[in-house]
Structures are given as structure tokens and as C-alpha cells.
């Protein structure tokens, strides 16, 4: 019989209540208990000792039955692993970063660490996870909306700065996945935090009808060899700093071609919520495309302005959309426009990121947005000196 001493990753509110008790009730009401038969069944302590012939398997079985996983296997958050994760930050394990909506479990550094361990993060990834969690706890991210809406939105994490490479983040080949542990696990850690501390249980709290693959993990870095200023420099940070920027994203639409093709994809019903909510969208641009544009004298601002002017929805098309009929409060810059409607309010609402393989193929990706209020939240990644030297 082996034993694993695990730190429980689930949310407890400031006043002491456990979010699983509310979740169990919701699951029961919606007939979803079969997915999580052990919802709310766990010792109400910080640490559980799991004794079994194969304790890793046992932890996975229990956590899955309790509703604490995304369906993929997790790394048991043992005391040793959680402590090693917490050592990657100067913050105290008991520090509360905020409450995660909608069920308001406290995001202590330790609980975030436990979820990061489960996601498969290494300690050096933790500073990025912490910055990303701080970003999604910003009211502008509208965590409550993201967790409870029936729309299929995911947090998109973009890391920019010198630490990205040093901490193992991929900005090159397959930047949007899979294959690089940092990208995969950092994005997943944020999702597990939303699940286990905020209570975003599918079907019980999170009503996203279809979901999307980005809800497992969605994290990339910007290429440092971009011909343009880095995202974090554009945002006013110093070049030697590293940041995480979070946007609320609907599924990526891959586009091969140029800005014109991206504009045509933007100007479709895929951008309906972007327009309704005055959202901020993202366009990922492969280095091949960025270099060509830069060589022709285009800055990021030029590219943004061009997309803003060219990505226009004909009024007749907009009027035919389902969302047009069902939602009445469209912004004035949409309803007041003439024959064609812009997709975003201003060029600045388009975030451009240079990432992807350095191939001679013009690849881009467009992420529409969802939700109030306009969201592009950035936080600095702070790594202790002994982590990065």
C-alpha cells in the first residue's frame, strides 16, 4: 500500500463554505450527478492522504468522480510537488489573489499551485500561471460571464517578453498546439483554476452549449524575432519585462493568405458577438506575413487600421443574422454606420501577435471575441531570481 499526500485543489470561500456543496446541488438538479458521482464527497481539510496499491490511479479516479478534472488525467498535487511549485514565487502560499466567480472560491497561491501541478506544469511555469490568473481575476475579464454564458468562449493567453523563451514557451512551430509542455500546461492550469476554484462545471454552472478545444488550453507566446514591436512593448512595458495578455476568445479561424483573407473572415457572422459587445479581437500573424508587410513599410498600426477599414459587414448581411434579431442593444457605431459596418469600434481593438512556424506560407488566425466589457488584460510575469538566474 502506497500513500500520496495531496493538497485538495477545490475552492473554499472566504467565509469557509466549500463550493462543491453548491455544485453538488446544481448537478443533482440538472441530472448530471452521473458525471461526478462523488461531487462534494471529500475530507474537508487542506490535505488528504490517499492510500491504495496504485495511488496515482486512485487520485485520478477520485478527482474525476469529484468533478475536479477536465476529463484528461491529472498529476496528483502532492505536498512535495505543491511546495516546489509555491517555491517558484516570492508570494506566500496563503496569499489570496482574488475570488473566482461565479462560486467565489478563494484563489490562494497554494490552491493555484495545486491546480498547476494537476495541469502538468513545472515550477518554472508557475510565474506565468500566476500572472495569467491575476489577469483573469481582473473585473474586465468578466469571469462570471465567461463561466456561465451559453457561448463558447475561452481565455486566450498571449505571453510576450524574454522570459517566454527562457521558461520554455513556444512561439514557433505549432504555437497554438500541441507539443510544448509550457504552452499546454499553463493554459490548462488557468482552466483548472476556473473549474475548481470558480466552479465552472460543464452543464451545472457553465452552460456553453458546444464548448471549443481552446477550453482545454489556449496559450502561446509571441516570437521575439518579430519585425514589429513586441506586444508588451506596444502596451507600454519595457523590452526586458515579460507579460501575459488575456483576451476572451471564440474559436480560432485559420486563414491562409493575407490581410484581405483575414478581413473577409472577420466580416462574417463569426464576429457577431464581437460587434454586439464592442469586443477586442486577436489576429495571429505568421513571421512570413509579418516580414513581408514590414518590408513593404507596414507597421502593426498600419495593419490594424487596414483591417479596421476593410473588414466591413454589409448592412443587409448583418440584418439577416440571428443575433441581430434577438439582441436589440447594438452599439451606436454599428447601428449608426452607413452601408457597411465595422467589426470593431477602433483599430486599437485588434491585437496583433506574431507567432507560428517560419515557413514560406502566409498563415494567420483570427480569434473573434465575446462578452462585456472590452477585454485585453495584461499582467507582468515576475520570476524569482533563483528561477531564471
Amino acid at each position: 500500500m502506497e500513500a500520496l499526500w495531496v493538497v485538495l485543489p477545490t475552492g473554499q470561500r472566504a467565509a469557509g463554505g466549500w463550493i462543491d456543496d453548491t455544485l453538488r446541488q446544481r448537478a443533482e438538479e440538472r441530472g448530471l450527478l452521473s458525471r461526478t458521482p462523488l461531487a462534494g464527497v471529500f475530507p474537508r481539510h487542506r490535505v488528504e492522504v490517499v492510500r491504495a496499491p496504485d495511488p496515482i490511479e486512485e487520485v485520478n479516479e477520485r478527482f474525476e468522480a469529484r468533478g475536479w478534472t477536465d476529463g484528461l488525467p491529472v498529476t496528483p498535487p502532492t505536498l512535495a510537488r505543491v511546495e516546489a511549485m509555491c517555491a517558484a514565487t516570492a508570494r506566500a502560499p496563503s496569499e489570496v489573489l482574488g475570488e473566482v466567480e461565479p462560486l467565489r472560491g478563494e484563489a490562494t497561491v497554494e490552491k493555484v499551485a495545486a491546480n498547476a501541478v494537476m495541469a502538468g506544469c513545472r515550477p518554472e511555469h508557475f510565474p506565468v500561471v500566476l500572472a495569467a490568473v491575476q489577469a483573469v481575476l481582473d473585473p474586465a475579464f468578466n469571469m462570471r460571464g465567461v463561466q456561465t454564458t451559453d457561448e463558447n468562449v475561452a481565455p486566450l493567453l498571449i505571453v510576450s517578453g524574454p522570459l517566454a523563451g527562457r521558461l520554455g514557451l513556444n512561439a514557433g512551430f505549432g504555437a497554438l498546439g500541441p507539443g510544448w509542455r509550457a504552452n499546454a500546461t499553463i493554459g490548462r492550469a488557468v482552466r483548472l483554476v476556473m473549474l475548481n476554484l470558480g466552479g465552472g462545471w460543464p452543464g451545472a454552472v457553465s452552460l456553453a452549449g458546444l464548448g471549443q478545444p481552446g477550453r482545454y488550453t489556449l496559450c502561446l507566446a509571441e516570437r521575439e524575432d518579430s519585425p514589429w514591436p513586441a506586444l508588451h512593448v506596444e502596451l507600454g512595458y519595457r523590452p526586458e519585462q515579460t507579460t501575459v495578455t488575456v483576451l476572451r476568445a471564440e474559436t480560432a479561424i485559420n486563414v491562409t493568405g493575407g490581410l484581405a483573407e483575414v478581413a473577409s473572415v472577420m466580416a462574417s457572422a463569426a464576429s457577431a458577438f464581437t460587434m454586439l459587445h464592442e469586443g477586442r479581437v486577436a489576429v495571429v500573424v505568421a513571421p512570413f506575413v509579418a516580414r513581408r508587410l514590414a518590408a513593404e513599410g507596414w507597421s502593426k498600426d498600419d495593419a490594424r487600421r487596414w483591417l479596421h477599414e476593410q473588414a466591413r459587414v454589409p448592412v443587409a448581411a448583418w440584418q439577416s443574422w440571428w443575433l441581430r434579431a434577438t439582441a436589440r442593444q447594438w452599439p451606436a457605431w454599428v447601428t449608426g454606420a452607413a452601408a457597411t459596418l465595422p467589426v470593431v469600434k477602433e483599430a486599437a481593438d485588434i491585437t496583433l501577435v506574431v507567432a507560428g512556424a517560419d515557413l514560406a506560407i502566409p498563415q494567420l488566425a483570427y480569434f473573434p471575441s465575446w462578452g462585456f466589457p472590452p477585454c485585453g488584460v495584461t499582467r507582468e510575469v515576475v520570476a524569482p531570481i533563483d528561477l531564471v538566474g
Partner: protein, 457 residues
């Protein structure tokens, strides 16, 4: 202002409370304390004090408006009952090492090994009282947990107490639960620590040390009972460092101070318990919270007039911001403690002084200039906002008249309101001329005395 929201809710009117971002956690705790854990809040981002007019407007429009609409129209979560283990439930099985690790990792232990609280050991303790195991001794803040005889036994086992200490432990928790003590302040920023004083025949019966080294570890009764107090504050009151215990530094538990009642009887002085209103010879514990202490070594002299000035000086040296418990916020609530070794008490008594006489003499000598008093509570700490003079405070009825008999800033004023506020105990090495002074935390740990009731047998 959450209180106002609570009043509205209770009158059937839905409310939403505008809450600054940094206050969210405290708002949740406060709402729960008001009995309304579901009280809706609407966040105002950032710190309003540092935002420009435009920034504030943008934040309110961008975030707070939605929160207001949600708060007034969205059905709040049904409040679900808090699920935790049952008190006294078996919570773990393992070896002694594993039990210690489990208790430590779950924050139920102070970092030293505990004695595993098995049902058998707890039963031993419960046999030493004739009170029912489930009898409630009180409800302790901040967690609002029930303090029961059973949990007293469990924590007593853990602390390394002997079963026969049980009546003392029960009396201590009764004191802890007494609202006059103010246990809810035990996690405040200054981080003062409790001192337990024990009186009565129980001192010798249970083997408390009251001689040389009265405040040292090494004697099971004094040491383990002191430790019990802090374990109970942790596990039942709910004070945890980095969470509800916000002491800047804090202190570890003090060993129990037992008075030398032989010496007191010889000189005809009252005990602390008697001073607190109990009968002579009563078994009792007195708890009080002290911010710090210092030893007055080499108290030199054969007559009171030679000794009192040094002793009084010890009291005035150790009081500073604590003066806010003498005037202003709390009137006359400061109770510094002077512990005299038996030989010092005997020397004073030989000159014909009772303890009360000593208190009066100390009161006369333990004085500081009014300007210094005012600086301690005003300019240096801002604990009395507006830097009032003692004259201002007397005029407002926030200080006894004797503090402003003139307006000369150089006039000497006492540091307590009355002579009897200076508590005096007798303990320590009977033949060494040392005294000890403790500075007091006022109403945030007010001296509270409870009788120790021994079982009928």
C-alpha cells in the same frame, strides 16, 4: 455600510453594495458575520482614492454598472450548509509520525509534535470532570465555532497536558469565551499574547511551578497549559497566521504563571483572584493579554521609598501606545501587571504596606509628563485622531478629570486611571530581588477570571 445593506435586505428590499476591489474578501467575511453570506456586491475596480475623475467614471461605467444590475436582479445562490467533519469524529488513522504530519499540514498544530488525540486519551480527560462532554462553554470568534468540553479534552491531549488538568482547561475556555475578555481581538496587528495566572490549592495539587523560573518552560503544568491556550485559539477560535491572525510579529504562548500563595499568606496580601473578586483560597485562572514584558533586575533598597521609584519607572517605561486604553478609545481599561519576587513583596510588607498600599504608591510614582503622554497617542501613533490634548479628552468625557488638573504640558500624569488598575502578583525565585513588568492590551484582552471547578470526587 454593509450593515445598511443588511437592514434593507431584512426589510425585504433587495440591495447591492458598492465595494472596492481590495475589500472584496473582507466584505464577504463581514456579510457572513451579519448573517447574510449571500449579500450581493458590485465591484468598483482599483482604489478610488488614486483615480482621476475620468478613470473613476470609466471604471464605474465599465464594470460597476453591470455589477449593480446583476446584484439587484440575478437570483443569488441558495445558501448551502457548511459541510465539515463532526466534532470529535475520527479524522485520520496512521502512525504517530503520520498523525503529526497530517495535523501540521492541516494547520491543527503549532509545529511541535502533538500527542495524538485518540478516543482513549480523550476519554481519560473527560473522566476528570463531571461536566458533559457536549456541554457548550461558549461560541468563539472569529470562526463562530462551539467551544465544548470535548474539544477542550482533544486539544488538551494534543498539547501534552495531563488528564487531571481538565478543570483548569475548562475554566480557561470559559474565560476565552467571556465577551469581556475580547477573544476576537487575538489576531490583531500588535499581536499581543495572553498570560494565564493561576491561583488556589490547585497550584500545588497539579504541580505548577511557582518558584524560581516561574515563567520558564520545563514544568509540565505551566508549559502544556500555556500551549493548550494557543492550540485552542487556533483550532476552535480559528486564529491562523496569514489568515485570521494578522499579528505583525506576535509571540509564542507564555507558560502559566502561578502565584506563590505561601508567600502571600505570610504577608497577608491578596491574590490576583481575590483582587478580581473571588473568595480567598479559591481555585481560579485569570487571563489577560500583554503586549510585552521586561525584567527589572536588582531592585535595590530596604525601604519602600527606595524601591517604589524603580518599580514605577518599570511600569512607565513599558507603556506607550497602550495609553490609548487609559484615555480616548477605552476609558481606564489598561491593567499593567507587576510581578514581584517574594522577597521584594516581603520587604514592602515589612514596612507595613498592604498590596493596595503598594498600588497606591506605584500610582503616585508611575507618572509621565502630559506632553509625552499626548505624543504617544497623538503625534507618534495617531491613535487618537486630531492629536487631542489630555485637556481636550477630559472636556469630551474621554478621560478622567485627573488627567487635566492644569494645562501645563510638563505636568506629571498617571498612566492608568486608578491605583487599583496596576495589578500586582507575587511569584518567582523567593530570594532574588527581581521584578517583572507586563504592558497591557486594554480592552483587547481584558483581565477575566473564572473559578476552577474540581469534580465532586
Amino acid at each position: 455600510m454593509l450593515r445598511a445593506s443588511a437592514v434593507a435586505e431584512e426589510a425585504g428590499v433587495p440591495s447591492v453594495s458598492l465595494t472596492c476591489e481590495g475589500f472584496i474578501g473582507q466584505a464577504a467575511t463581514t456579510a457572513t458575520g451579519l448573517g447574510l453570506p449571500g449579500l450581493p456586491v458590485a465591484v468598483v475596480p482599483g482604489h478610488v482614492d488614486v483615480q482621476t475623475v475620468d478613470e473613476l467614471r470609466a471604471n464605474v461605467l465599465g464594470v460597476t454598472v453591470e455589477g449593480v444590475i446583476q446584484g439587484l436582479t440575478a437570483a443569488p445562490d441558495k445558501t448551502v450548509e457548511l459541510v465539515e467533519p463532526e466534532p470529535g469524529e475520527v479524522v485520520f488513522e496512521g502512525t504517530a509520525d503520520e498523525i503529526n504530519r497530517f495535523f501540521y499540514e492541516n494547520s491543527w498544530s503549532d509545529g511541535l509534535p502533538i500527542v495524538p488525540p485518540t478516543a482513549a486519551r480523550v476519554e481519560e480527560f473527560l473522566r476528570r470532570t463531571d461536566r458533559d462532554a457536549d456541554e457548550t462553554l461558549g461560541v468563539l470568534l472569529p470562526d463562530r465555532r462551539l467551544a465544548t468540553v470535548r474539544t477542550v479534552a482533544i486539544n488538551g491531549v494534543m498539547a501534552g497536558c495531563r488528564p487531571e488538568y481538565m478543570p483548569v482547561l475548562i475554566a480557561l475556555v470559559e474565560a476565552m469565551a467571556d465577551p469581556r475578555y475580547g477573544v476576537e481581538h487575538s489576531g490583531n496587528t500588535p499581536g499581543a499574547e495572553t498570560l494565564i495566572v493561576v491561583n488556589g490549592p490547585v497550584i500545588r495539587r497539579l504541580g505548577f511551578n511557582y518558584q524560581q523560573g516561574a515563567l520558564r518552560d520545563g514544568f509540565q503544568a505551566n508549559t502544556s497549559i500555556g500551549r493548550f491556550w494557543r492550540l485552542y485559539l487556533r483550532n476552535v477560535a480559528g486564529f491562523l497566521p496569514h489568515r485570521t491572525d494578522k499579528a505583525t510579529f506576535g509571540n509564542t504562548w507564555r507558560v502559566v504563571l502561578a502565584e506563590n500563595e505561601d508567600a502571600l499568606a505570610r504577608i497577608g496580601w491578596t491574590t490576583i483572584a481575590q483582587d478580581q473578586g473571588l473568595a480567598a483560597g479559591a481555585n481560579a485562572v485569570t487571563v489577560s493579554r500583554f503586549t510585552g514584558g521586561t525584567v527589572l533586575a536588582s531592585v535595590f533598597g530596604t525601604r519602600p521609598e527606595q524601591m517604589i521609584p524603580y518599580l514605577a519607572d518599570g511600569i512607565t517605561r513599558l507603556v506607550a501606545w497602550e495609553l490609548m486604553f487609559t484615555v480616548g478609545m477605552a476609558l481606564g481599561a489598561q491593567r499593567p501587571l507587576l510581578v514581584l519576587s517574594p522577597i521584594l513583596a516581603e520587604t514592602l510588607a515589612r514596612a507595613g504596606l498592604t498590596k493596595q498600599d503598594v498600588q497606591r504608591r506605584l500610582f503616585e510614582h508611575a507618572r509621565i509628563p502630559a506632553s509625552r503622554f499626548e505624543r504617544y497617542i497623538g503625534e507618534w501613533t495617531n491613535l487618537a485622531p486630531g492629536r487631542p490634548t489630555l485637556g481636550d479628552l477630559v472636556a469630551r468625557g474621554r478621560a478622567a478629570p485627573l488627567f487635566a488638573e492644569s494645562d501645563d504640558p510638563g505636568r506629571l500624569v498617571p498612566v492608568v486611571a486608578r491605583a487599583e488598575d496596576i495589578m500586582v502578583a507575587v511569584s518567582g525565585d523567593p530570594l532574588r530581588t527581581n521584578a517583572y513588568v507586563f504592558a497591557h492590551n486594554g480592552i483587547l484582552g481584558f483581565p477575566t477570571t473564572k473559578p476552577v471547578r474540581l469534580p465532586a470526587r
